[in-house]
Symmetry: C2
Subunit: 155 residues, 2 copies
DNA sequence: ACAGGTTGGTTGTAGCGTCAAGTATTGCCG
DNA sequence: CGGCAATACTTGACGCTACAACCAACCTGT
């Protein structure tokens, strides 16, 4: 027997869907307009920029960016063609490949970051109270724990 | 001068992104597997099923489903080819078109609903306390108010 | 030392979404 | 009442993602 959602659960769910559907569009269009980047591309570059030596293995980068390996592989190809990253075979494991941020890639993230952070602030952080930001952290973490238990333990 | 995110804000933001990136995939794959429907297609049918006479204008349906008119138009074409909805010109306004759920469309939503609700429960509602569900409602509403102020006032 | 299985990654294709342009109808304003 | 703008949608082309098939390198037990 199906346990349906009561009024409160349904209301929360409907709002969450709305955010999930609309937020990516807002992020993408700001970044595309101001930095010729997808939000996902930005996130890839951002994760690399924070990694030691600005290098990560494909698999590690994929989990950090919440993507499948196939998706990341396609995007890495495009970013490599644009000169923002370089792929090199991993010396320790012949199967693996390392992705590293180039100088041009670094400049691109640095240039894009302020505009992006401003959009995030305006649309997500600033409309919330400090307490709500903290609640959002716990809530998203709880949900993420179900969506992919491994995603939480890794970083 | 850019106001960067502090640790707490950043932590919340990173978790939110993870949910926003991963949740659609989970919903889509369950529905595709069990009902041959995209989550967006399901949502379109669901919104129609709750409307008076199971009919809505394209624009109204688009805002209810958080989509652009172009996206909805493409999806409506596909759903119409599958016999799940019908499009008819609106008598009162020659520019508008009404989308209505067919009997087959109704059967499809009814058949898909239990599995979908179960997935939503497992991945989103049940991992949260009742208080968190309530907090999520407020948080998502606040964010939505910025993403698209009109989306909140309409329904 | 090697067969079988697992892990890491790439590629092709088909489908969905966005963007820009186009059509048709309505409303408004002089 | 004529013209111009706004509204409501449709369409086509292009780009990105998911899915599945694939290959290569590693690892394990025997």
């Amino acid at each position: 027997m199906t346990r349906w959602l009561d009024d409160e659960e349904l209301a929360a769910w409907v709002r969450l869907i709305a955010v999930v559907e609309r937020l990516p569009g807002v992020l993408d269009s700001q970044l595309r307009r101001d930095a010729e980047l997808t939000h996902f591309e930005y996130y890839v570059l951002a994760m690399l920029s924070e990694a030691p030596d600005r290098v990560l293995r494909m698999t590690a980068l994929a989990t950090r960016t919440n993507a499948t390996l196939a998706r990341l592989s396609h995007v890495a190809s495009r970013l490599e063609k644009r000169g923002l990253v370089v792929r090199t075979p991993c010396p320790e494991d012949g199967r693996a490949t390392n992705v590293s941020l180039t100088a041009a890639g670094w400049d691109t993230v640095v240039a894009a970051a302020p505009g992006h952070v401003t959009t995030v602030r305006e649309n997500v952080i600033d409309p919330l109270t400090r307490e709500q930001v903290h609640q959002l952290h716990s809530i998203a973490e709880a949900i993420l724990g179900r969506l992919d238990p491994q995603a939480l333990s890794a970083p």
